[in-house]
C-alpha cells in the first residue's frame, strides 16, 4: 500500500500540465514579459502542480502560471535541433550554420494574468492636491471605466473636495502682513480615456510575484471653484471651470476582480480669483466680473481599490 501511494504521488508530481503550448503570445502578450530578457526563467511559487493541470484550458486560477512543458512528449532539444537541420537541408543548399543552443535560447511564455477587455472598472478613490503649499484639498471620488480593448478604455470620473490651509498661509499673513488670494475647489467631473502601454511584474522579497501595469489618462471635464474672500465681510463667488486633465497611473493586480490603483493627475484650467482691490467691487457679481485670471495646474495624487465586472474572465487563446 505504501509503495502504491508512493507511485501515485510520483505520478501526480511528474504528470504533464496538459494542453499544448499553443501560440507563443497567447493571452494578449504575456509572453513578452520574459521574452525581452532571454534567460530569466520565472515561476509562481503559488501555482501548485495539481491545480495548474486543472486550469490549463480555461483561464485557471488567479496566479501567474508557467508552462513547464510543451505537451505530452518529453522535450528533446537534440531531436528538435536534428529536425531543424533536416528542414534546412530540404529548403537550402549549401553549408548549414548551426547556432549554439543554451538555456538562453529557451523562452518561457507566461500568459497575461489579467484581462481587461470588455470589462468595467469601478474605482472609488481618495485624492490629495500636491502642488499648492498654501491650501490643500482632499478628495473623495469614483471612476467608471469600460475597456474597449485590453489597453484602451473610456471612463467617467467625479470627485468632491474639501480643503484645509497649510502653514505658509498663516506665515504670510503673520510675517509679511499679506492675506493670500486663494480659491477652494468644490467638485469636478470628467470624461477620460486610458491607455496602457506599460506592464510588468516584480518580486517582493524574492518570494511573491506581483504583476502591475502603468497607464496614461487624458480627459476633459468641468468643475467648480469658489473664491475664499480675504475679508469675510465680502461675499465669495463661484467659477465654472473647463478642465482638461492628463495623468499617469499604476495598477497592481491582486485578484481577477480586484486591483489597487495609484496615480497622479494634472487638472489644467483657467481660474478666476478675487480682485486685489476688492473694496472697489463689494458684491459677488462685480468681483466676479473684475476677477483676476490665472492658468492653474492642479496636480492630485489618487489612490484606491478597483473592482472589476464581470468578476472573472476567460482566455480566448490557447496557452
Amino acid at each position: 500500500m505504501v509503495v502504491t501511494l508512493g507511485l501515485l504521488a510520483g505520478t501526480a508530481l511528474a504528470g504533464p500540465k496538459g494542453g499544448g503550448k499553443g501560440g507563443g503570445k497567447s493571452g494578449g502578450g504575456g509572453g513578452s514579459a520574459s521574452g525581452g530578457d532571454a534567460g530569466e526563467i520565472e515561476m509562481d511559487p503559488n501555482s501548485g502542480g495539481g491545480s495548474a493541470a486543472g486550469s490549463a484550458a480555461g483561464g485557471g486560477g488567479d496566479e501567474i502560471e508557467m508552462d513547464s512543458d510543451q505537451g505530452s512528449a518529453a522535450p528533446d532539444l537534440s531531436a528538435d535541433l536534428g529536425l531543424a537541420d533536416q528542414q534546412n537541408v530540404t529548403v537550402k543548399e549549401g553549408p548549414v550554420k548551426k547556432t549554439p543552443v543554451s538555456w538562453k535560447d529557451i523562452v518561457v511564455v507566461v500568459r497575461k494574468p489579467f484581462l481587461k477587455v470588455r470589462r468595467t472598472e469601478l474605482f472609488p478613490f481618495v485624492g490629495v492636491t500636491m502642488n499648492d503649499n498654501m491650501i490643500r484639498h482632499e478628495a473623495l471620488g469614483g471612476e467608471f471605466a469600460y475597456y474597449l480593448t485590453d489597453v484602451l478604455a473610456i471612463g467617467v470620473e467625479g470627485m468632491y473636495m474639501v480643503h484645509n490651509f497649510q502653514e505658509p498661509y498663516d506665515l504670510v499673513a503673520r510675517q509679511a502682513r499679506r492675506l493670500p488670494t486663494l480659491n477652494q475647489y468644490n467638485w469636478q467631473t470628467a470624461l477620460d480615456f486610458h491607455y496602457v502601454p506599460v506592464y510588468g511584474k516584480f518580486a517582493v522579497l524574492d518570494k511573491k510575484l506581483i504583476t502591475w501595469e502603468s497607464y496614461f489618462t487624458a480627459g476633459i471635464g468641468v468643475g467648480q471653484s469658489e473664491v475664499i474672500p480675504r475679508d469675510t465681510h465680502y461675499p465669495g463667488f463661484t467659477n465654472f471651470l473647463i478642465q482638461p486633465n492628463i495623468g499617469a497611473n499604476m495598477r497592481f493586480f491582486l485578484a481577477k476582480w480586484l486591483t489597487v490603483n495609484i496615480g497622479v493627475r494634472d487638472y489644467i484650467f483657467v481660474d478666476k480669483f478675487e480682485p486685489t482691490d476688492r473694496v472697489m467691487y463689494p458684491t459677488a457679481s462685480l468681483a466676479s466680473a473684475h476677477a483676476d485670471s490665472a492658468l492653474i495646474n492642479n496636480i492630485m495624487f489618487m489612490a484606491g481599490i478597483s473592482f472589476w465586472l464581470p468578476t472573472s474572465f476567460e482566455y480566448t487563446t490557447f496557452r
Binding site: D37, G200, T276
Partner: protein, 295 residues
C-alpha cells in the same frame, strides 16, 4: 492475528509519518503542492545590484519649497551588501531660486514696501531673512525589497527595482543679514536706554532681529526610489528624498512672540523640525560592469 494488525497499523503510521516528514512542503492545508512552492520567485536572475558598487551623478530639486527652491547636482555612492541591503552616502551642492510666493511679495500689487512700514517688513528685510541650502546630503541604509521587469509598448523590456532608504541627513544653511538690517542685538530683551535710566521694553519688531536660521543641521533622512536598468551596468535612478531637520526658512517670527529666537518663558523656538522634500534624477553606474546570475 491481533498482533499482525497492530504491526500493520504501526507500519502504515510510520510510513505516512515518514512521507510527511520527508517533504513537509508538499502538502499545505490539504492542497498538494509541487516543488516550486518553496522555490525562489525568479531563477537565473541577473543580480543587478548584489555585491556591486554604485556611483550616481544626480540632479536634485526641491518639491514645494515655501520661499527658496534649491536645485543642484551631486553624487551618490552606494555599496550593495546583498541583493536587498545596501549602504551609501549622498551629497548635493545647490543654488537657490525664489519661489513664486517670494516673487509675488516683491512685485505686483501685493509687493512689500521698500522701507519698513508699521509691522510690514521691507523687501530688503524680507529677503535678507531667507536662508539658503548650498550643501546637503545624507548617510543611509537602503532596502530593496522589490525587483522586476516591465514591457513598454510591448517592445522595450527593462529591469527595475524599488528601494527605500533611511538614515541621517545633514545640511549647511546660509544667510546674509547685514547689521544695518538685523540690528537688534538682543531680540525679545529690554533695550538699554540711550538717555540713561531704566531700560526700554523690547521693540517687538521681529523684522530687525537676526534670523538665526544658518549653520549646520543634522536630522533624519527618508527616501524612496526606483532603478530602471538600461543595461547591465547603467540605470536611471529616480528618487524622492526627505531631509528633515530643524529650520526656519523665512527667518521671521514663527511662534508669534514678536521676536526671533527661543522664548525663555514658553521654550518655543522659531526653528522647528521641517521636511525638505527633493526629487532627484540620476544615472547609476554599477561596478563591476558585468553581472552574475542566480542558479
Amino acid at each position: 492475528m491481533m498482533t499482525k494488525n497492530y504491526v500493520l497499523a504501526a507500519l502504515l503510521g510510520l510510513s505516512l509519518a515518514g512521507t510527511a516528514g520527508a517533504d513537509p512542503a508538499s502538502v499545505s492545508g490539504g492542497r498538494r503542492l509541487n516543488s516550486l512552492h518553496s522555490d525562489v520567485a525568479v531563477r537565473h536572475r541577473r543580480l543587478l545590484v548584489k555585491h556591486r558598487f554604485e556611483a550616481t551623478p544626480l540632479f536634485e530639486s526641491t518639491i514645494n519649497a515655501d520661499f527658496q527652491h534649491t536645485v543642484g547636482g551631486g553624487l551618490k555612492l552606494e555599496y550593495h551588501l546583498s541583493d536587498m541591503l545596501s549602504i551609501g552616502v549622498i551629497g548635493v551642492y545647490g543654488t537657490s531660486l525664489h519661489t513664486s510666493l517670494v516673487d509675488k511679495l516683491l512685485t505686483g500689487p501685493a509687493a512689500l514696501p521698500n522701507a519698513p512700514d508699521m509691522r510690514q517688513p521691507s523687501q530688503e528685510q524680507f529677503l535678507d531673512h531667507l536662508n539658503a541650502m548650498p550643501i546637503h546630503g545624507a548617510a543611509y541604509v537602503s532596502l530593496t525589497p522589490w525587483y522586476g521587469k516591465l514591457a513598454a509598448f510591448s517592445s522595450a523590456f527593462v529591469a527595475f527595482d524599488f528601494y527605500f532608504q533611511g538614515g541621517v541627513s545633514f545640511a549647511s544653511l546660509t544667510g546674509n543679514c547685514p547689521n544695518n538690517i538685523c540690528s537688534d542685538m538682543a531680540p525679545g530683551q529690554p533695550r538699554p536706554n540711550p538717555m540713561g535710566g531704566e531700560n526700554l521694553p523690547p521693540d517687538n519688531d521681529p523684522n530687525n532681529d537676526p534670523p538665526l536660521n544658518t549653520g549646520g543641521r543634522v536630522g533624519l533622512y527618508l527616501a524612496g526610489g526606483i532603478h530602471v536598468f538600461l543595461n547591465d551596468f547603467l540605470a536611471l535612478d529616480l528618487t524622492v528624498r526627505d531631509y528633515a531637520f530643524s529650520d526656519n526658512p523665512s527667518g521671521a517670527d514663527f511662534n508669534a512672540d514678536r521676536f526671533v529666537g527661543t522664548n525663555s518663558k514658553t521654550g518655543e523656538d522659531d526653528n522647528r523640525f521641517l521636511n525638505h522634500l527633493f526629487f532627484g534624477a540620476g544615472v547609476a553606474i554599477m561596478f563591476p560592469t558585468t553581472v552574475k546570475r542566480t542558479p
